[in-house]
Symmetry: C2
């Protein structure tokens, strides 16, 4: 592939299709006050947490309150061949929500009911606007929890659409493994169901997994059935400092290769620890650290912890700090959860450009260390955090958005990082998705054959190209 | 849906397309002795382990030895619009391999090399004709294993194509969770790659999961990258007898709801124990039993076992028999692995008609007990085994193939069982697939909307309908 210029990446091709007044009138008639064309509402729905800033907002925002609403909105849009962009809370990172071809935003945030809790089956069915924190709050009394934690308090619909994962994925899997069934509104406005509440099935094409990660380009998710897990009998968290990132990474690799069922293992580099200390006065040792969590029986947790402590010691890990009460754990995890905000605060007026790659675990040190060296050499401030147990990590380059050269440097670093991950048999995105930002990388990763197959599926299921068009691949 | 007659099920519509002599000549020229039109070879490739007997064999069999061979065979078939049916070892159970529309069989059994073992990443890449036992034999020295065990020594290609699972799935998942990447020859003879060796990814549509379970209808799998697992430090197996099937099932439900990470939990009913005793002289207590296996650290295994023993006792479980050495474990698992053969031997000249449903775990007792009552009332001999930890179980009705009434009774029992599973929010097939036999059930399970979406994808990716046509759904 040709190296795209960073400029091309951050100023995506905008080719807005006309949104006829007749459609806006029809939406107003059908949805009344639940359809807005107010500038501020449109602008709120025309951006996400990506670094893109140059795209005009959608022509209207429909606030859906039911599957029927979604189906009707899509059917109207289909009639006028106008794009529809599903919207949860707007926390996506790669430009997924931007109206690059115009159209309407379909906000499912008000579809936020937990529809049925089947505690005895360890499943729950929710509307797409339920957020992960809300879900865990609502099922608290069952003794079960939903482990997927991408950081942001994203909606379950959005997490499904981007195949999200996060800190617990090393033990509990990603949305790919934890979505059992879906209700989806197709590009023609039809309502279909995929999957059942059975834990496994060989019944035909896996439409559930096709929709998970399709970023709103094949349909709108209107119901999600998820797997839940019993709250572990015992939970223990620990933080351990290392003399180098390499030592922390080698510790992680050994933990995974030995099959320790660790629930979380997060890397935070010394830059980031420093930022977090400044932000939250945590007084942590300003060295690279691993934040870990163990789930199981009291004995099982103890055993895992002992094994891990031994592995860490062999790699120079020191000052293990343990937390077994929820309060202590919260204090430790504050470092991880505040990393993004602490980093943003560390440089006035900055914006973070996030990367996201994932490599086979044995390649993690190679991929990470070379990228650290490049980032250090660039002179850009950055933070580095990683779900390293899965071989997944993120740099956040802290750029001044008013200095184009910084943006280009960040994009160049991102480009080099992704190419390195691909050369090491990894993927260009572990959990953020392709969106607008990684379309060239997807081609580089999987080749034209596979992307052409995606295009063929897209054309077949969405012949007028109205479902979040212009994302994942060009058509 | 209209209840299909059992007769329709077992005599599928055969509508063979012409296989032009010009194609046979071209195949003979390209493949020489690796293309056979001998009657016996065609017949071997025109049947599987299903109960269908009335379908003429394919017109020719091509023995592929490389991806290039597969691509060339498919390209030639595409040129003449002739069906291609991929073939592994012929162990499928629902008529997947039958040439209902004629065409050629593409045997990938000779593509049986393990291509690369990446022990440090817990991955392996194999050709599709590698069988699961061969794979585990070849990776033995790495300290890793591949857990998916559907019973038959099936090929990895076939297991991928049917989304197989089996005894270890309760802990390690199914082929859905364990296939990381594929090489696939598409319906036009193009070679594409899906996925990478990274453990997770959000890079575009999940073509890997679309191919897994597509039963050869979207392409031919020519390479599979799988997840492996460290051999557990300790393994312990146990058998426990129960006063009733219900007690065994309630024990299972509690084990799963409590989140015990059991590696295997298999139900065998008293009929089947009797058959196995007669076949293998095992002297087992002829009551319903659970066969269980625990994987983990020595302490972890002990802890799991104690918890399970306590749960079982509460449900009247008795005569726990433990096996911690490989030899003792083999003896216990002989009962499970011999169930099918023991059952076949129990009635001279019989054929087993297998069922396969999977329900949410809380519905397992309801689904299973009513089906046992129906089977008992029918007077047909049967065996009953189940991967009950997943809510998945199989009846095998032992019919005299020369007595049409027995066949119809078995089909009727199957029909009632599947309808019951669907009413309980389960699936019509946990692991055997749709093939020819369950096309109506798929429609009943997922509705016309989802099946129409499958058809749309099929038409888009295989416009001449040459990839294993007539399976999963009618076109």
């Amino acid at each position: 592939m040709n190296a795209p210029t960073s400029h091309a990446h951050l100023a995506p091709t905008v080719s807005q299709r006309e949104v006829p007044q007749a459609l806006l009138d029809a939406l107003a008639q059908r949805f009344g006050a639940n359809c807005s064309t107010a500038q501020i509402v449109r602008e709120q729905h025309g951006r996400d947490e990506s670094a893109f800033t140059t795209v005009p907002p959608p022509a209207a925002v429909v606030f859906a309150e039911s599957t029927r609403d979604v189906a009707d909105a899509v059917a109207l849009a289909a009639q006028f061949k106008v794009p529809v962009i599903p919207f949860g809370v707007g926390s996506s990172l790669e430009g997924h929500l931007l109206a690059v071809q115009g159209g309407i935003s379909l906000d499912v945030g008000r579809m936020n009911r937990v529809l049925s809790i089947n505690a005895e089956d360890l499943t729950v069915t929710v509307q797409p606007g339920v957020t992960r924190k809300q879900l865990n709050e609502e099922i608290k009394s069952t003794g079960l929890f939903f482990p997927i934690d991408p950081g942001a308090d994203a909606t379950i619909g959005g997490m499904s659409a981007t195949r999200a994962s996060g800190t617990n994925a090393v033990r509990y899997g990603t949305m790919r493994e934890n979505v059992l069934a879906l209700e989806v509104v197709t590009a023609s406005g039809e309502v279909i169901r995929t999957g059942t509440r059975a834990k496994k099935s060989s019944a035909g094409y896996d439409l559930t997994r096709l929709m998970v990660g399709s970023e709103g380009t094949l349909g709108v998710i209107t119901e999600v059935t998820l797997r839940l897990y019993p709250l572990p009998e015992a939970v223990s968290a620990a933080v351990c400092s290392f003399p180098s990132i390499e030592a922390a990474v080698q510790t992680t690799i050994t933990i995974i290769q030995m099959g320790v069922p660790i629930a979380r293992v997060e890397l935070i580099d010394s830059n980031t620890v420093r930022m977090v200390n400044a932000y939250a006065k945590l007084g942590l040792n300003e060295s690279p650290m691993l934040l870990m969590e163990f789930h199981g029986s009291p004995n099982g947790v103890k055993e895992q912890a002992e094994t891990v402590q031994e592995i860490a010691s062999e790699h120079g890990g020191q000052s293990f700090e343990w937390a077994t009460t929820p309060e202590e754990r919260t204090r430790l995890w504050t470092a991880r959860h505040n990393a993004y905000f602490a980093a943003i605060q560390s440089r006035a007026g900055c914006r973070a450009i996030s990367t996201d790659t994932c490599v086979p675990i044995s390649r993690l040190a190679d991929c990470l260390l070379d990228s650290v060296a490049e980032a250090d050499a660039s002179g850009l401030p950055y933070f580095l955090v990683g779900h390293v147990g899965d071989g997944n990590f993120h740099f956040g380059y802290l750029i001044d958005p008013n200095i184009p050269a910084e943006r280009e440097t960040a994009e160049q670093l991102n480009h080099q990082l992704v190419q390195r991950a691909l050369a090491l048999e990894g993927t260009c995105t572990g959990e953020h998705g392709i969106g607008l930002h990684k379309m060239d990388f997807l081609l580089s990763e999987t080749g034209t054959g596979a992307v052409d197959m995606m295009r063929t599926i897209k054309r077949a299921l969405d012949p007028h190209n109205i479902m979040n068009p212009g994302k994942i691949f060009s058509l």
